[in-house]
């Protein structure tokens, strides 16, 4: 298919009512509270940034070692170490307000009520454009993935948070389930405005000389290029059944990966582990998506979403 190259493709997207200048976000837990990365590049070039998971009270996180490299990826078991919602609003948000990009706050709780309380605090804190509900962290004992791998719990926590906030609500889904579409539909039924997927896949690595797991908690979340095919498949499956916009993530390191997620049905993509390896890559991805759109005659990003040709007659 050779189309006329369009003059200037429109990269802006609207997700859950959040207007973004381009479809490239950064994944929670890979971007600190934003200020760390602002020492390397201008964050206003991003569509949106997602901050590290926030909880009601500060969390000390898990005992080290917390990370280990695996084939084309890494395992992490950070345990959501964070400064707590109050300190975030007081100390981190003023900096984020000054940046001309969208800010998504990833939140986490030990109970549905606690999730709702955190969401409610953000509701009155000027400077947050949307909430991402983390019901899929595999690295905490209570809460986290337990909410995202039980359909009834998913419903309960989304329902509670929906009542507590008027902010756009994005639910981040766990891939550690048999059928992710059930959870996508559950979140949609309870009033989510968008979905992001996938969180990390539960994994393990063992040091055979020490006869010990490489992570202190034994297991952790796998991320990076290694999980890309799984993520792509799940984004495709979820996009087929939901009307909600999907933010696709899992091993995105370059524009080709981002375009694949968009074609699979995502409305935007999030860069995660690649921020560690190549901090400037979100900017290269924005430029690469634009090049692809010019070369293939797309004038708006949303035209890519779902433009996948499955070759069915």
């Amino acid at each position: 298919m050779v189309n006329q190259p369009s003059l200037m493709p429109d990269l802006s997207v609207e997700i859950a009512g959040i207007l973004m200048k381009n479809p490239v976000l950064t994944g929670s837990g890979t971007f600190g509270y934003g200020e760390e990365m602002s020492q390397i590049y201008d964050l206003s070039l991003l569509g949106a940034l997602t901050v590290k998971g926030l909880s009601l009270r500060p969390q000390s996180g898990n005992r080290p070692p917390r990370i280990c490299e695996t084939p084309a990826g890494m395992l992490n078991s950070i345990g959501l170490q964070n400064i707590g919602i109050e300190a975030f609003v007081r100390d981190k948000l003023p900096f984020l307000r000054r940046i001309d990009t969208r800010v998504i706050a990833n939140i986490y709780g030990h109970s549905a009520e606690e999730y709702a309380e955190v969401a409610n605090i953000l509701d009155s804190a000027n400077g947050v454009d949307g909430i991402e509900l983390n019901i899929s962290c595999p690295n905490v004992k209570k809460g986290g993935m337990a909410f995202g791998t039980d359909r009834a719990e998913t419903c309960r926590v989304v329902r509670h948070v929906r009542k507590a906030t008027r902010l756009p609500l994005i639910v981040k889904l766990s891939p550690n389930v048999t059928d992710i579409t059930e959870f996508a539909l559950a979140a949609e039924d309870e009033g989510a405005d968008a979905l992001s997927l996938i969180n990390t896949l539960l994994g393990m690595a063992i040091d055979i000389h020490e006869k010990r797991p490489r992570l202190s908690r034994g297991v952790g979340g796998l991320s990076g290029p290694a999980i890309r095919p799984v993520a792509l498949r799940m984004v495709y499956q979820v996009s087929q059944v939901t009307r909600l916009p999907v933010i696709g993530m899992g091993g995105v390191v370059c524009a080709e990966d981002a375009v694949a997620f968009l074609l699979a049905g995502a409305s935007a993509v999030s860069v995660g582990t690649a921020n560690f390896v190549d901090p400037l890559c979100p900017l290269e991805i924005v430029a690469g998506i634009e090049d692809y759109m010019k070369a293939h005659g797309f004038s708006r990003v949303q035209e890519l979403s779902g433009a996948l040709d499955m070759g069915e007659s």
């Binding site: 890979t30 020492q39 000390s60 080290p64 990370i67 280990c68 890494m74 170490q81 560690f276």
Partner: protein
């Protein structure tokens, strides 16, 4: 307009010479690398051009002259093996300068440097900086065997007093450098104008930190940790301190002995 203190740059290899068994000194030309880099800071090197191995590797800044950076490294795995195969003209992607380096504020008169093995790497820059401030320098340096003791000529040329130890006794005292260091305080009265700077394996550093606390001498230790980003975002490299888990890449890699929790079981978990 905007000032970015940390830079991601493509550096060109100008030298990569073996200096000991499996140990190399890499020299890179990196014009855009910030001149303000401090002794004890580090850089993150990309040691692959593909998705595997994925993560960057952290190295102490070993040397800095004009547009050139030096890295002293030992081949221990796939990343460093990739590095050892780079030739002049090859390009390596690096990020830096990162973290907090050594601090040497007055009234410092005498610096006691303690290095274990590859822990000697950041001391070339530190020695240069201390000497420009007229500080007297003693280096306690230990390694497994004589061949693993690096930088001896450079240190001697810089009039650093050397006290050496090897575990096999092939050079200097037989035993660990921490024993040599502890022994020193049987002969020398500590003073407020002394400061200890240590770099090496964690067990050695914690031992040095305990000695420093016992002698009431200011002490900076440069820690090593498995890192994913080096930028303070992943929270993967933390170490237990009196104020909770702190990032080796951001609050460190240099920590004061007082700030560290030398007994990690004391860390409270929620």
């Amino acid at each position: 307009m905007s000032f970015f203190p940390i830079r991601q740059v493509k550096a060109r290899v100008t030298g990569n010479h073996q200096v000991a068994e499996a140990t190399f000194r890499l020299v890179l030309s990196a014009k855009e690398f910030p001149a303000a880099a401090q002794p004890g800071q580090f850089i993150m090197l990309r040691t692959s051009t593909t998705e595997d191995p994925l993560l960057r590797r952290a190295f102490s800044l070993h040397d800095r002259k004009d547009d050139h950076l030096g890295i002293l490294y030992k081949v221990v795995g796939r990343g460093t093996d990739w590095m050892a195969r780079r030739r002049p003209g090859d390009v390596i992607d690096l990020i830096g300068p990162l973290g907090r380096g050594f601090s040497s504020a007055p009234p410092l008169r005498k610096a006691l440097l303690v290095a274990g093995g590859m822990g000697i790497a950041p001391f070339r820059l530190l020695v240069r900086s201390l000497q420009s401030e007229g500080v007297e320098i003693l280096l306690f340096y230990g390694a497994r065997t004589a061949g693993d003791l690096l930088e001896l000529e450079e240190m001697e040329a810089a009039s650093v007093s050397l006290l050496l130890a090897t575990e096999d006794g092939s050079r200097g005292e037989k035993g660990r450098v921490t024993e040599l260091f502890r022994e020193h305080f049987r002969k020398v009265e500590p003073s407020a104008s002394f400061k200890i700077f240590a770099c090496g394996p964690q067990a050695m550093l914690y031992e040095v930190a305990r000695i420093a606390l016992g002698q009431e001498i200011a002490c900076d230790v440069s820690l090593e940790s498995q890192m994913a980003c080096g930028l303070g975002t992943c929270m993967g490299c933390v170490i237990a301190t009196g104020s909770g888990y702190q990032r080796v890449c951001r609050e460190g890699p240099v920590f004061s002995a007082q700030s560290l929790l030398l007994d990690e079981s004391a860390v409270k978990h929620e």
